[in-house]
C-alpha cells in the first residue's frame, strides 16, 4: 500500500504555514456552499488545479489518485440527483465534492505530517483545561499515519501465508482468519512501539517490569 502523503517540492505553497493552508481549505469549503452556482464550483476547481499543478508543481498522478478514490461517490451523487432532481444539480454537487477532495489533497501533499500535527496540537491546547494532553493527541495521529501502511503489509503477509497453505485469500472466512493473527501482531507491535517511544525519550509512565522477553 502506498501512503505517500507528502510530496517534497520547493514551492510557495509548500512554504506556507500549515495552519494557513488548513484555514484556506475551511474558507474554500464554506465559500463553495455560500456561492451555490456551478460556475463558482468550476472556477474553484480550476483554481485548485492551478495551485496544485502549476504553483505547488505536484505530479498529476497525485491528484488523479485522490479523484479516482472518490469516483464512485461522485457517480452515485450524479445518478441520485439525476433521478431525484436534475442532472445539472448532480453535476454541481459532484463538482463541489471533487473540488474539496482535491483541495485537501493539495494541502496534504504540500504539508509535512509534523507541521500538520503541530497545528492539531495548537488547536487542542485549550483542552488541557479538561486534562487532555495535546502532545498525546498529536502522537496518536502521527502513529496512526505511520502504521497504516505497516499494518496493511502485515495483513498482506498473513493472507499470503494462508494462501501458501491452501487457504482462500478472499471471502468472509479469509477475513475472519486474518483478523485474529493480525490482532495478535498489532498487540505485540503496540508493545514494541511503546518501548521504542520510551527509549527515544517520550516516556510518560514508569517503565513496565512485567513483559515476557527472551
Amino acid at each position: 500500500m502506498t501512503l505517500a502523503l507528502y510530496v517534497p517540492r520547493a514551492s510557495a505553497v509548500h512554504r506556507l504555514p500549515a495552519g494557513l493552508k488548513l484555514l484556506c481549505l475551511a474558507v474554500l469549503a464554506v465559500a463553495l456552499f455560500a456561492l451555490p452556482t456551478i460556475t463558482a464550483a468550476g472556477a474553484a476547481l480550476a483554481g485548485v488545479l492551478a495551485v496544485g499543478l502549476l504553483v505547488a508543481r505536484l505530479p498529476v498522478a497525485v491528484l488523479a489518485r485522490q479523484a479516482r478514490a472518490v469516483r464512485w461517490w461522485l457517480l452515485a451523487l450524479l445518478v441520485v440527483h439525476a433521478l431525484t432532481t436534475d442532472l445539472l444539480t448532480g453535476a454541481h454537487v459532484a463538482l463541489r465534492l471533487l473540488t474539496l477532495v482535491l483541495a485537501a489533497a493539495v494541502v496534504t501533499a504540500t504539508t509535512r505530517v509534523s507541521e500538520m500535527v503541530a497545528v492539531v496540537e495548537t488547536v487542542c491546547a485549550p483542552l488541557r483545561l479538561v486534562g487532555v494532553r495535546p502532545a498525546r493527541v498529536g502522537l496518536a495521529i502521527t502513529l496512526a499515519l505511520r502504521f497504516i501502511p505497516v499494518l496493511t503489509e502485515r495483513a498482506d503477509r498473513i493472507r499470503a501465508a494462508q494462501a501458501a497453505r491452501g487457504g482462500s485469500p478472499r471471502g468472509v472466512r479469509a477475513l475472519r482468519t486474518t483478523i485474529a493473527p493480525l490482532l495478535v501482531q498489532v498487540l505485540q507491535m503496540a508493545h514494541d512501539v511503546s518501548e521504542a517511544l520510551d527509549a527515544r525519550g517520550a516516556d510518560v509512565e514508569p517503565p513496565r517490569a512485567a513483559w515476557r522477553r527472551s
Binding site: V113, R133, L139, T142, R146, V193, D203, V204, P207, R213
Partner: protein
C-alpha cells in the same frame, strides 16, 4: 511533541560519573513465575561488548535493563552511577537503544521527521534539530531520502534510519538488540561496519557471531545467568560447546 514527566532529571543536572560505565549489581528478574535473569554481577566499561545466548536465555531482557526499559526485580542497574530505577530519564539520555525490528522503532511517516523525533523530546530548538538531522542523514547515506515515506525504504535502509534516530541524540552508549537479524548479508555487513565505527560504547546482543570478532568482551548468557565472560574467541568457543551439548 514532547512529554514531560514531573520530577524527571534534566540533562546536565544529574550527578553522573562517566568512568563507571554500566553496572549490574546482584540483578535478578522474573516474568510471573519464570526466572529470566538471576545473580548478574557485571560492570561493563569496555568500548565493545557482545552478548550472546540461545533464544529464551534472557539476553534481550539483559539489554533492556541497560537503559531502563526493564527495571530489575532484584538488585540494581547503574549507568554512569545513575540508577535506572530512579533516574530513568537521565539514563535514557545516555543510553540509546536500537531494536531488532526497525518497523517498531520508526514512529514518524517520513525519514527526517522520524530522525528528529528524539531531539524534539529532548527539547532541542528547531534550527539545531534540522541541522543535526541533516548531518546524521548525510553521514549514513540517507540525505536523499529526507522526505521519503519511511515504509517505502528497504529493510537495510529502515535499520539505518532506526540507528540514525538514535545517533542523532548523541548518547554516550548504545545498546543494539539483534540489529542484523532481519537483514541480508550486505546490509548486515553495512550495519556491522557502522557499529564498528561508532565512537560510543556499544553493547550488542546478537546471534551473528562474526559481528563480535574484534569486540573487547563477550558475555554468554544461558538460563538467565552469565556463564562465560571473556574475549570473543574463548566466549564464542564456550557458546558453541554449550550449544553442541543440547
Amino acid at each position: 511533541m514532547r512529554f514531560r514527566r514531573p520530577g524527571a532529571v534534566a540533562a546536565g543536572t544529574d550527578t553522573a560519573d562517566p568512568g563507571r560505565g554500566l553496572e549490574l549489581r546482584g540483578v535478578g528478574h522474573r516474568y510471573g513465575d519464570r526466572v529470566v535473569l538471576e545473580g548478574i554481577d557485571v560492570t561493563l566499561t569496555e568500548p565493545r561488548v557482545g552478548v550472546i545466548g540461545a533464544n529464551g536465555s534472557g539476553k534481550s531482557t539483559f539489554a533492556r535493563l541497560l537503559n531502563g526499559l526493564v527495571v530489575p526485580d532484584q538488585g540494581q542497574v547503574l549507568v554512569d552511577g545513575l540508577d535506572t530505577r530512579t533516574q530513568v530519564r537521565a539514563v535514557r539520555r545516555r543510553v540509546g537503544f536500537v531494536f531488532q525490528d526497525p518497523d517498531a522503532q520508526i514512529v514518524h511517516p517520513t525519514v527526517a521527521e522520524d530522525v528528529g523525533y528524539g531531539l524534539e523530546n529532548q527539547g532541542v530548538p528547531a534550527d539545531e534539530r534540522a541541522a543535526r538531522v541533516a548531518e546524521v542523514l548525510a553521514r549514513h547515506g540517507l540525505a536523499g531520502h529526507a522526505d521519503h515515506p519511511a515504509h517505502l525504504l528497504s529493510g537495510g535502509q529502515k535499520q539505518l534510519l532506526a540507528i540514525a534516530g538514535v545517533l542523532v541524540m548523541r548518547p554516550a552508549r548504545i545498546v543494539f538488540d539483534e540489529p542484523t537479524t532481519l537483514l541480508d548479508l550486505v546490509n548486515a555487513r553495512r550495519v556491522g561496519d557502522l557499529i564498528a565505527g561508532l565512537e560510543q560504547q556499544v553493547v550488542v546482543v546478537t546471534h551473528q557471531l562474526d559481528l563480535l570478532h574484534d569486540f573487547d568482551r563477550v558475555l554468554v548468557v544461558d538460563g538467565g545467568r552469565v556463564v562465560e565472560d571473556a574475549g570473543p574467541g574463548p566466549a564464542v568457543a564456550a557458546y558453541r560447546t554449550l550449544m553442541a551439548d543440547r
